[in-house]
């Protein structure tokens, strides 16, 4: 059965209620019900509510999580069915996106300088790596063989030439080599996992039997955002289920750039199920409900109505510079709270790039009035946290042979954190540390000239750390980085002042080190060293479910990108859209090495992806996105824009033009 309705019609609530009813009233064993959810924020909603009296194991996961679990459990079956896995005795491991990108970028980097691959491509190597790994995932989740990726993309080009042909060939060969190596070693990314599951488990009769007996009921929310192989999976087990409840937002589909395929969902599932339609939305005002549809029609070139009443929408005239705009946003938010009676948590600021600068500028203005801003988008790096950075700096000091020595700024920060010395004296000491030969190390306290300027601060602690490092360096072999971090955390860093947040960060860091070491050491690389390099390169930090929960529930003004906002289930009284004249609202889906629409099941490989189509897709994306955002706006909409972009060039995006047109 499909529950069909727009944002805020109460689908998810009904799905939850149905689950409760099955477990509590019908006494269906909870381990026989598979719940597939979109992401972690959704999972959070379900987490507390699915723990019921009488329930045993709760099977609540994402599609990727489900596949990982199945592969782990049935790995012997996989090894039997898959010829490509060479080392059959070791357990499978799964790559995070970051590790996958790191591995691919290392391969590209070397070949770009020496062999001149990707000639003619103007892009950083890590950007290329991101595109290639994403292509592999998209192809796999759309059931497209990996060796057809390059051809498919090249064939779809409107303008073809030899240079481009070569570029896609280069991409194919990099991916093929990477994939082959991963398979041999039993390391899988999302794409490979999907491929293995479909080819080596679902095709196995024994597995199918077990699957059907284990899954008797299925609940999936937001099927419009499912990737095609997930849709196939649902369709496949459908006939064997006792019951199936699917939540479907027919106005959704903003995740197509990330691989979901609304069209495919319509083809495969919508006709096969009984439908219940919900029409009323409880998350937005009547006015906004109508306006969101009008804006949708206007962007999609459907001649529609224009609003008569416009009081729900406030358009702030454009500023010249983007910085001025951000400040105006901050000031407006303060007024909303102090003069117009809104609570901070009533307000959401949507920005296409909710970067630290945006966050800081608006945040500081709010802070001065005593309000807080939280960024829903995960943008902070591991080394942004002083505590994690201290861990990394210590790791670098203890492993001089890795050749990734810490710089003076890092050592200074470490000394301040550990010894609580003022910044000037910390810096003096850091200078001495870094100038030791052959490698940076903590000098003897009695080092000439040092004590005179620094004084005797925390000498005991200093001596302790100094000895700890030198003893560690004398070890015949270094510890793997995850074990090292654990050790240094417990033996050096932990103290009374360490906050819960710091501990959480350290735990995240140690966990990701562990995963990374597991993966990379199989490639015969020095994983510990690679990990330090990768962290220094600024990879983002993982976010625990608690941190997300905190952001969603406190009394904060929220800053978010449109997609992160939609992935949450938040609704707000005031929605503020920033930079609406920016082009970032309509990201281009054709990139130098990828095209989200071509690597899908619904794409005909013989077709050419024309500019007309791209324009249509961009508009459609914008229309869907805006409608979904506005459907979560209970009261007012405020828009801001600037004439110049962040880098000082003229903005000429289309969103503000649609607003102009419809509000004329």
């Amino acid at each position: 059965m499909i529950l069909k309705g727009p944002t805020g019609c109460g689908k998810s609530a009904i799905l939850l209620e149905r689950y409760r009813f099955m477990v509590e009233n019908l006494h269906v064993p909870s381990e026989k019900i598979l719940i597939l959810l979109l992401n972690r924020t959704q999972s959070l909603e379900w987490r507390t509510k699915t723990i019921l009296k009488g329930s045993s194991v709760i099977w609540r996961t994402s599609y990727y999580g489900f596949i990982q679990g199945e592969i782990k459990t049935y790995y012997p079956m996989i090894v039997k069915n898959c010829k490509e896995i060479v080392n059959k005795r070791i357990k499978p491991i799964f790559l995070t996106f970051e590790s996958a990108q790191f591995l691919v970028s290392k391969v590209i980097e070397a070949q770009r300088e020496s062999k001149g691959i990707f000639t003619g491509v103007t892009a950083y190597t890590d950007r290329i790596a991101i595109d290639l790994t994403a292509n592999l995932v998209k192809a796999a989740t759309s059931d497209i063989p990996y060796h057809e990726i390059g051809d498919r993309l090249y064939n779809a080009l409107e303008l073809k030439d030899d240079m481009k042909k070569q570029i896609f060939k280069d991409a194919d060969s990099i991916l093929a080599a990477y994939r082959k190596r991963c398979m041999e070693l039993g390391i899988f990314d999302f794409g490979m996992a999907v491929e293995l599951y479909n080819n080596c488990l679902l095709k196995d009769e024994n597995y199918r039997e077990q699957l059907f007996s284990r899954v008797q009921h299925l609940i999936v929310d937001n099927i419009e955002e499912c990737v095609p192989t997930e849709v196939d999976f649902i369709e496949y087990i459908l006939p064997n289920l006792q019951s199936c409840m699917l939540g479907y937002n027919h106005e959704g589909g903003y995740g197509e750039i990330f691989g979901s395929n609304h069209e495919y969902v319509k083809q495969k599932l919508i006709g096969k199920c009984e439908k219940i339609e919900l029409t009323k939305s409880h998350t937005c005002s009547d006015f906004m409900y109508e306006f969101s549809d009008m804006l949708f029609d206007s962007i999609e070139n459907i001649k529609g109505l224009k609003p008569v009443e416009k009081t729900g929408i406030e358009r702030v005239p454009p500023t010249e510079l983007r910085s001025e705009m951000l400040e105006k946003v901050g000031e407006r938010v303060c007024r909303l709270i102090s003069h117009e009676g809104y609570n901070p948590s009533d307000i959401a600021i949507i920005s296409t790039y909710a970067d630290p600068v945006t966050e800081f500028v608006i945040g500081r203005i709010l802070e001065k009035q005593g309000y807080q801003l939280k960024n829903l988008t995960r943008k902070s790096r591991v080394i942004d946290n002083p505590f994690s950075q201290a861990l990394i700096t210590l790791a670098q000091l203890c492993h001089p042979s890795y050749g990734v020595l810490p710089n003076r700024d890092d050592v200074k920060a470490l000394i301040r954190l550990l010894l609580k010395i003022d910044p000037v004296r910390s810096s003096l000491l850091a200078g001495e540390v870094c100038s030791q030969r052959p490698f940076a190390e903590f000098p003897d306290v009695e080092f000439p000239g040092l004590v005179e300027r620094i004084g005797y601060y925390n000498v005991e602690k200093y001596e302790y750390i100094r000895t700890w490092i030198s003893e560690y360096r004398e070890r015949p072999t270094p510890l793997p980085i995850n074990e090292f971090l654990q050790k240094v955390f417990l033996e050096v860093l932990i103290s009374k002042e360490v906050t819960e947040g710091d501990i959480l960060q350290a735990k995240n860091l140690i966990d990701s080190a562990q995963t990374f070491v597991d993966v990379v050491s199989r490639f015969n690389r020095n994983a510990s060293r690679d990990f330090l390099t990768m962290i220094r390169g600024g990879i983002k930090s993982a976010e625990s479910i608690f941190e997300i929960e905190e952001k969603l529930e406190g009394d904060f003004v929220l800053l978010s990108t449109p997609v992160a906002y939609l992935a949450s289930s938040l609704k707000n009284k005031v929605v503020i859209l920033t930079s609406i004249s920016s082009k970032n609202w309509t990201p281009r889906s054709v990139k130098e090495l990828s095209n989200a629409h071509v690597l899908t099941k619904t794409w005909n490989p013989q077709d050419v992806y024309s500019e007309e189509l791209e324009e249509q897709n961009q508009k459609h994306y914008l229309a869907v996105l805006m409608r979904a955002i506005l459907k979560r706006c209970k009261g007012r909409l405020i828009t801001f824009e600037s004439n110049l972009s962040a880098s000082g060039y003229e903005n000429d995006g289309i969103l503000s033009e649609y607003f102009d047109e419809i509000l004329q």
């Binding site: 103007t122 004084g455 220094r536």
Partner: protein, 745 residues
């Protein structure tokens, strides 16, 4: 304001097709072009598209925007979205951003700035040298060098080769040749060919550019054109988007720019310019003949603007005399066409804005004994006139930027208020510099020098008001003294004892009595808390640190915009180079040519430049384009900067190279013409000299026409009769005799 001859026809009659408006200096181009746009918008003739105005600099863009929007507002017409003003680079960027994938570029590509470009080209040269040893040395003329000077010559040559290669790369690109194609064309050339070397390095340069995600300005123009040509639907989109295309300063257009605008215009193309003011040929590939031939097309309607009320009739007379001199008596026959016979007419006496007048003859010319004498004398004269005419604006035009540096130092020493019009001027760089000073200190807080510099530049201003009466001057004087005492004191102290004294307070006996009782000391102590706050701010998130500095220093709106830009770029820089440190960032910020110049200029230029009386504007002749002042000093009119005959000295010639390579840029240009265009036997050195002479004549023409009321021309004649004799420019001699004769009447 009433419209004059030429202006009126444009505003009232031009409604489509090809149209050219050749306009003399001071003819009110911006004014009438803006009025035309407003008229079109008022009548809705441009609908459904927009009017596109392409001009040469951001200041001009803002000038147009302000005028059009003010006029629309005055007439009560909504239509701020009916026109779009942009530089050609802004337009090309917009086109490429539509479809970066067409040229295989990531959407996050960046436009390379001059600083990074210099880095990349020298890295490319270095890489090339690794595999090709001393091949560069064959061009150096060792025969006339002593052993000691040979090494110096090699160094100089390696220093200059980047410029030569970049100019060759530009020439390749302007012919649409990719590195691979260029290499293929040059294959037949031997190892002694400079062009072949350039082609090799082009390949390396291009690879490095791309790996770093950069396009350069030439790539932008070339790729924008390619995209428009290859992609019909995009071209169609642009044609619909812009129903009228208008090019300002059309004389400085180059071939690609011309082609791009012609493509988009689809028949409705309006070009405004003045061939006599074409001064960009030597550093872009611009060519004023494009505008001239556009005017001559049979389908082009031409409206001449010939009247100007900018200058006094005397200055107009001098200008016209100069045009006549060049056309009739220029010693080099081939250069007589460098100025077209466009003579400026003063406005009729019944015009509402008449030409200004002066009581006496307002033009003077002089030759000094050296550049030092000349600069000093001009500044003295300027200072005198500033007091005599406190309401008049004035400017000093200087041929090269290193001479500007000299002038600025003199002005500072003499405490004369001035303003420097330059992308790297102190004022424009002030924000970035302040950030640099503070980060430099945070990176190394134990350095007494860094603490002293930061306090001096960021926290304790030189003077508290802008007034310049005697009392204030005395106060400023004593303030200066105290400031230098403070500096002295800080330089000799240990910073930890100043910022974090063990007793909680700075030891009193260390501080000199006079300093302790001064206002400067009080301010200093007051700022120590801020300094500590900055130091203690968590340094792990550098972008937040930068924004925090901007807050603590109470930056104004423009400064905050620049700080935000620095902050957002920092994250990116750090991710590209994990070993990026605060010190490195400080170095970048403190250098006068830094990666933030472009954005700082965008912000600066939004404010626009309005000459202010009581301040001397200092700028190059090039930068003076489009501007005007009551009083203008044209300086440095000597034979190297304004050559007239073929025997004069030419900039860009390297004495240490063999005779045939002395002007390597011209040599490489000729090689390209030979290999790529199939042109045989052009005397490259000669044609480059002719081009330089012609352009410098136009540059002087631009200079002369900047002056509204008073004009002073000067040069110097140094070391007469000696080997290193530097005579004045022949133009100065020629004009001087004319001026002296008129002045004596």
């Amino acid at each position: 304001m009433a419209l004059r001859k030429g202006q009126k026809e444009l505003v009232e009659q031009y409604r489509g097709g090809y149209c050219a408006v050749p306009a003399i200096p001071g003819g009110g181009k911006t004014h009438c072009l803006s009025l035309w746009a407003v008229e079109m918008i008022a009548q809705g003739i441009h609908k459904p598209g927009k009017i596109l105005i392409v001009t040469y600099m951001n200041t001009a863009v803002n000038n147009f925007k302000q005028r059009i929007s003010a006029e629309l507002q005055k007439r009560g017409i909504p239509g701020n979205k009916d026109y779009f003003v942009s530089t050609i680079h802004g337009l090309c960027l917009q086109i490429i951003k539509e479809k970066p994938d067409l040229i295989s570029a990531n959407e996050e590509f960046d436009i390379i700035d001059e600083v990074n470009k210099a880095h990349i080209i020298s890295a490319a040269v270095l890489e090339w040298k690794k595999h090709n040893g001393d091949r560069l040395r064959q061009f150096v003329d060792e025969s006339q060098l002593s052993a000691g000077r040979i090494t110096k010559a090699y160094e100089d040559w390696e220093d200059k080769i980047g410029i030569v290669i970049l100019s060759a790369i530009r020439d390749f690109k302007s012919r649409g040749l990719s590195p691979q194609e260029a290499a293929a064309r040059c294959k037949i050339l031997g190892n002694h060919s400079m062009l072949k070397i350039a082609a090799d390095i082009y390949e390396i340069y291009d690879r490095k550019l791309k790996i770093n995600g950069f396009l350069d300005f030439d790539d932008m123009l070339y790729n924008a054109k390619r995209i428009l040509e290859e992609d019909e639907s995009l071209l169609e989109k642009y044609r619909k988007k812009y129903s009228f295309v208008c090019e300002d300063e059309a004389q400085d257009s180059n071939l690609i720019q011309s082609e791009i605008l012609t493509l988009i215009a689809n028949g409705n193309l309006l070009r405004v310019g003045d061939s006599n003011q074409a001064i960009c040929g030597s550093f872009t590939s611009s060519d004023f003949t494009f505008f001239k031939s556009f005017c001559e097309l049979p389908q082009t309607t031409v409206y001449h603007i010939t009247q100007s009320s900018r200058n006094t009739k005397e200055i107009i007379e001098l200008t016209n005399y100069f045009v006549r001199y060049v056309r009739q008596d220029h010693p080099v026959l081939e250069c007589r066409e460098s100025l077209l016979p466009q003579f400026i007419e003063p406005v009729p006496d019944d015009d509402e804005r008449r030409n200004p007048t002066t009581e006496e003859y307002g033009i003077k010319a002089r030759v000094f004994n050296s550049w030092e004498d000349e600069a000093a004398a001009v500044i003295t004269q300027a200072n005198y006139l500033m007091r005599k005419y406190p309401d008049k604006t004035m400017a000093m035009l200087v041929p090269t930027s290193w001479r500007i540096g000299y002038v600025v130092n003199l002005l500072e020493a003499r405490n004369i208020p001035y303003e420097q019009l330059d992308n790297t001027s102190k004022e424009r760089n002030r924000t970035v510099r302040k950030l640099g000073r503070i980060i430099d200190f945070i990176a190394l807080p134990e350095s007494a020098q860094k603490l002293a510099d930061m306090m001096d530049e960021c926290f304790i201003p030189d003077n508290l008001t802008d007034q310049h009466d005697t009392e204030q001057q005395l106060e400023d004087q004593s303030r200066k003294q105290h400031k230098s005492m403070l500096k002295e004191f800080l330089l000799n102290a240990s910073t930890e004892k100043i910022l974090y004294p063990l007793g909680g307070e700075i030891e009193k006996e260390l501080v000199p009595e006079e300093l302790k009782s001064s206002a400067v000391w009080e301010e200093f102590v007051g700022k120590l808390d801020t300094a500590r706050e900055l130091l203690e701010f968590p340094g792990t998130i550098v972008e937040k640190l930068i924004l925090f500095i901007s807050e603590k220093l109470e930056f104004n709106k423009e400064e905050r915009a620049i700080a935000q830009k620095v902050a957002s770029d920092v994250r990116f820089l750090m991710s590209q180079d994990p070993y990026w440190t605060l010190s490195k960032l400080a170095d970048e910020l403190l250098s006068s040519k830094n990666m933030f110049n472009f954005f700082a200029n965008v912000v600066w230029e939004l404010k626009g430049y309005e000459p202010t009386p009581g301040k001397l504007t200092v700028c190059t002749y090039h930068k003076s384009k489009g501007l005007e002042w009551d009083i203008v000093f044209l300086t440095g009119l000597n034979y190297a900067d304004f050559p007239v005959t073929l025997n004069d000295k030419f900039i860009g010639e390297y004495w240490f190279l063999k005779q045939e390579y002395r002007n390597p840029q011209a040599f490489v240009k000729a090689e390209i013409e030979n290999v790529v265009d199939g042109k045989q036997g052009t005397d490259c050195v000669l044609s480059s000299k002719l081009e330089t002479i012609s352009e410098k004549a136009r540059l002087l023409y631009v200079g002369i026409t900047r002056a509204k009321q008073y004009l002073f021309l000067s040069g110097f004649h140094a070391n007469p009769g000696k080997k290193n004799e530097t005579p004045p420019s022949k133009y100065l001699i020629e004009l001087k005799s004319f001026i002296d004769e008129r002045g004596s009447k």
